[in-house]
Amino acid sequence: MLNLIWFFLLASGIVVAALNGHVEVVTEAALEAAKGAVKVCFDLIGIMALWLGIMKIAEKAGLIQSLARLLKPFLRRLFPSVPSDHPAMGAIILNLSANMLGLGNAATPFGMKAMQELQELNRDSPEASEAMCTFMALNTSCITLIPATIIGIRLAFSSANPTEIVGACIFATSCAMIIAVSLDYWFRTRSHWGRKN
């Protein structure tokens, strides 16, 4: 699936550029993007180090496990393949809470920690596990209670009511989340992708 999308994006871009007679934009776009990607990763290093450090304290102090235990009944249904006291659960909760609060830069390190824990349960397979897919479904459709960036932009353009969109955002993400979780459940239990082979 991803192979197909990646190939489509790249190939259709080059073909369109060639047909429009400006194939050279491909060169510049590709090289600039490659450089830009490394820059994004380097900017991430410091933020990752900070939050993974804090996360380690939370983990050693047992905070992550207590969080996991607190939301056990809810998480057990979503992640049947993960033991309910597993640290992955705590990291997932931290990631989703950071997402809800609109703390994007804290959410990413927590999410990666969760992925690492899930990958251990997945025995380092190069193929995504069911739990990872469920986590991604929750993560990409997660409700943001405080869309801080967008409120900031609305404020900057002197909106009469910068926060009036919050309710609408919550409605729309809730719809997206319901669909994502249901689809994930369907794939996991009904489709050939879900079965272990």
Binding site: M1, F42, A160, A168, C169
Partner: protein, 178 residues
Amino acid sequence: MLLNILTTISRWAIPLLLLLIPVYGVCKRIPVYETFVEGAEEGFYTAVKIIPFLVGMMVAISVFRASGAMDYLVRAMMPVMIAIGAPPEVLPLAVMRPLSGSGALGLATELMRVYGPDSLIGRLASVMQGTTDTTFFVLTVYFGSVGIKKFKYAVITGLSADVTGLIASVYICNLLFK
């Protein structure tokens, strides 16, 4: 009122996290600084591990955008947008949203600058921006950080959530703000 509560929460969330977690650690008699450093060490490796995945994805998306291929996709999707009752001006944002976070933010800002944040288009752009996530970035970075190469059905699930979010945004904005 709501704005005050929200800005207070966003101002306090990170300082409080940075305070409360170490406080809890101290109470549990954890050597907090040593433990912090031990965890922080992983930050570098994790960030570096994502590089190949992110280069691959960002190059493809950037070529797709810069070549004008994205504009064709936008034009091809126009009837769909009109069918769900969306103003066609927001379509580029809808296509950009799952691909690039900074690209989408740029488009949303531009829509609000041109049409005003309190117009239907400005409000719809805000809701769309606040609704779904940059699915491709999230999948690339999260799966990349642990070396997953086969994403299975996660792509379809993520994109379905994006489409649902878009339709729901258009519906609720037409209902509330038209």
